[in-house]
Amino acid sequence: MFLLESGCVDCAVSPNFCSCLALFTVGGLALFRSRLWGNRMSSKTPVHKVSSHNANKSSHGKTVRVIRQTPQSASVPDSKLKKAIDRAIAKRLTAANH
């Protein structure tokens, strides 16, 4: 505050210039931090598999990147498809044995 009100002692520039410079520096640093630090942080974000059931819920304030989201009613889970394939194979083998 002292510097901003009275101006720089050494070069005696106006207090307005000092406040502008301070704002510019703080703003630049914030931008730099958000771009670089932000990117680095996002790459470290843990990836959790979130089912459609709780995809929209926050996970205790943790950042959650949803990598798989399917509508529950329409999707056929792997287990169901696997069972259908198992039954089809069994049917074919039984027919072949007879």
Binding site: D78, L81, K82, K83, A84, I85, I89, R92
Partner: protein, 211 residues
């Protein structure tokens, strides 16, 4: 220690998507999966907001291998125009291979057509390439894919083309039964569902346990 790169076994399949070609397409997808590779196709795209050609180029860049089928060069009976998508995509693939980064220069591809030497008439610029004919036959298409993939991984054991064809026949018998269980229509099966079904079927019926 230097980080080892994850091997890329993605195979970009550039082929027609019409009903008549469906049997060959399914056979190619099956053969690629049975040889341990992963088929990729433009049918995976689901974002209507994305520019298709950009998505295609991204997909081609990410896949190390490519299967290109130029068998649909006839004029469309409805509008009297040829379909040039396959040729365009082959051009992009060859361009990436020729002028891309070091990774892109390692790309491998196989070019197929329904008839041998026909390509010399409609696309003489690829006369220097070894174009394989499948004669619109699923077994021949499987044989072409198998022979080509075998050359990519010479030290790895792959089931022979005849075995893959037999397994494909078995899969074709099983698929409608499984689809009926799930209220799916096998003719209208989405590419991603087909790939998932083949992957699960292959896990269940490995090459050694051939029936």
């Amino acid at each position: 220690m230097p980080r080892r790169k994850k091997p890329n076994f993605d195979v970009f399949i550039n082929c027609p998507f019409d009903k008549e070609y469906r049997a060959i397409f399914d056979a190619v997808v099956f053969a690629v999966l049975d040889c341990g590779f992963r088929p990729r196709s433009a049918l995976e795209f689901g974002d209507g907001g994305a520019v298709r050609i950009i998505e295609l180029m991204r997909l081609m860049r990410s896949a190390r291998y490519g299967v290109h089928d130029l068998s649909r060069v006839e004029l469309d009976p409805e509008n009297g125009l040829p379909r040039l998508n396959m040729a365009l995509e082959l051009g992009i693939f060859l361009g990436l291979r020729h002028s891309g980064s070091r990774t892109q220069k390692n790309k491998k591809c196989v070019i197929m057509d329904s008839e041998k030497y026909r390509y010399q008439e409609y696309c003489s610029d690829i006369a220097g390439q070894d174009v394989k004919a499948h004669g619109n036959d699923t077994k021949k298409a499987i044989s072409v894919i198998h022979a080509w993939l075998k050359r990519q991984v010479p030290t790895v054991f792959l089931p022979s083309a005849g075995v893959i064809s037999k397994r494909y026949e078995d899969f074709q018998q099983d698929l409608p039964v499984a689809c009926k269980d799930l209220n799916w229509s096998p003719q209208e099966l989405d590419f991603l569902d087909l790939r998932r079904a083949i992957e699960l079927w292959l896990k269940k019926v490995p090459a050694k346990g051939l029936t």
